[in-house]
């Protein structure tokens, strides 16, 4: 039972949700402000523990924000898209396999895959979540709609601080545009203590190779090791080279050195997170390189 009294609404349109979010809840409740409910996996436990006391809960379930679809240039991921929907989508495998790999390993078991949402996880901005780092690595653009209309911004800007998104009061995150990474190799590695543990460190890597195996483009983002996703510039170690073990090791070294303010919590101290950043980065880059070489071989065949 949630201890405080609140109003629950589930409008059947986005406009209705934004209106409900921006008008006062009826008298009789004893909370403050309004809060959006997506999958509920963070919001409801916070309310049960009285850490969050919204006067009104605006459920997005009928607002038409679910699912993932292929666009001409990539993916449109709805804020209410579940991990199960990501996993079932051939468009995700084609355009952003990194998101598929990420969704396969989320914390909480299969029940969470059809319950938790990509948008909800992003707005929660938990340092230990898989979603923030993976979206940043994919170069996703966030879409948010408020009373003043829609704005679009690089998803990295959504993660303002640990547990804080940059959404403005009264705004609803509606989804993401994810550019296609088809042709690039992707790698995703997460270090966790046990089967049901939250990640201690994640690394997402994308590598694009030219015809002769020369690295044209590389992208590396660490998650869970800092309060918000950490993009590391490893171009100097890999771009323009035919990447081998030395180059990958150098890139991983750059990743480890970039962690100057590590995230620290009960799961692992900051010093540990900083220490594991480089090896996790190395594994993700190696995985991405293998995938990129495979892609080239398949194209030639």
């Amino acid at each position: 039972m949630i201890p405080h009294r609140f109003d629950y609404v589930a409008p059947d349109s986005l406009a209705g949700c934004i209106e409900a979010l921006n008008t006062a809840a009826p008298a009789g409740g004893d909370g403050e402000d309004a809060r959006v409910l997506a999958g509920g996996t963070w919001v409801l436990p916070e309310m049960s523990r009285a850490e969050s006391r919204p006067a009104r809960l605006v459920d997005l379930r009928r607002a038409g924000l679910g699912g993932v679809t292929g666009t001409g240039s990539g993916l449109s991921v709805g804020a209410m898209c579940t991990y199960a929907e990501l996993l079932a989508s051939p468009d995700v495998l084609r355009h952003a396999p990194l998101l598929h790999t990420m969704a396969e390993g989320i914390t909480g078991g299969w029940a969470l895959r059809s319950q938790a949402t990509v948008g909800g996880s992003a707005v929660s901005a938990r340092p230990q979540s898989d979603v923030p780092g993976a979206l940043v690595a994919c170069g996703a653009v966030a879409r948010a709609v408020g009373p003043e209309g829609e704005r679009r911004f690089p998803v990295a800007e959504l993660f303002a601080a640990a547990m804080h998104s940059s959404l403005l009061p009264g705004e609803v995150l509606t989804g993401f545009d994810v550019p296609s990474t088809a042709g690039a190799g992707s790698g995703y590695v997460k270090l966790k203590r046990g089967g049901s543990s939250w990640p201690i460190a994640t690394a997402a890597a994308l590598v694009r190779l030219g015809d002769e195996g020369v690295c044209r483009q590389v992208s590396l983002v660490l998650g869970a090791v800092t309060a918000t996703p950490l993009r590391v510039d490893v171009d100097a170690a890999l771009v323009g080279t035919t990447p081998g073990d030395d180059g990958v090791r150098e890139a991983a070294h750059l990743a480890g050195a970039a962690v100057d303010e590590p995230w620290d919590d009960l799961l692992a101290p900051g010093s540990y997170r900083a220490a594991v950043a480089a090896p996790i980065a190395r594994r993700a880059l190696t995985m991405a390189l293998v995938a990129a070489r495979t892609t080239i071989q398949e194209t030639r065949a």
């Binding site: 039972m1 949630i2 609140f6 999958g39 509920g40 909480g108 029940a111």
Partner: protein, 172 residues
């Protein structure tokens, strides 16, 4: 906009284990609380109430779900299956029999959730590897630490094979 539920008790109608029923529940109740206190089905257990332990797992509209992460009023009209809805006419399901044969529960608190997680796995992957089994129950915690027996029980049902059909599968 729907009626405010701020202070009220709500008539919640669910199809619980195939039977359409209505119960008066507090508008602040989680689905877990509504099932146990409003509908009187106590198969789903209250454990961590944060979505970690899986003791409250049920099926909502056919998909396994942690009922502590759902607001009861949001599920108006939904089909819900609980532990009570697994066995038909008193006959255990093959998975339930396998858990019995393998001593795969001790205190039994995690059992309901384990059965749903296992059933969900076997529907997706009829012959899972041990790794797939362990991954499938990663959202369900057993504090009696009986995981090996649980994995054995699930593995014994691989390929739809009933544990009682195996040579030497008689109760210990």
């Amino acid at each position: 906009m729907s009626d405010p539920t701020t202070t009220s008790t709500v008539d919640l109608t669910l199809t619980v284990n195939g039977e359409r029923r209505t119960a008066a529940v507090d508008g602040r109740a989680l689905l877990l609380d509504a099932l146990r206190d409003g509908f009187g089905v106590t198969g789903p257990k209250s454990g961590c109430r944060t979505g970690d332990c899986g003791a409250c797992t049920v099926r909502v509209e056919g998909l396994i779900a942690k009922s502590c992460l759902r607001l009861a009023v949001a599920e108006q009209g939904a089909q819900v299956q609980t532990l009570e809805g697994l066995a038909t006419d008193g006959a255990l399901t093959p998975l339930q029999s396998a858990f019995w044969e393998n001593n795969a529960f001790q205190c039994g608190y995690c059992l309901s959730g384990m059965l749903f997680a296992a059933e969900d796995l076997l529907e997706r992957v009829p012959s899972p590897t041990e790794g797939q089994i362990r991954e499938a129950i990663s959202g369900n915690l057993c504090r009696c630490t009986g995981y090996d027996a649980i994995v054995d029980a699930i593995a014994s049902c691989a390929g739809g094979e009933r544990p009682n059909d195996r040579p030497g599968g008689a109760p210990a």
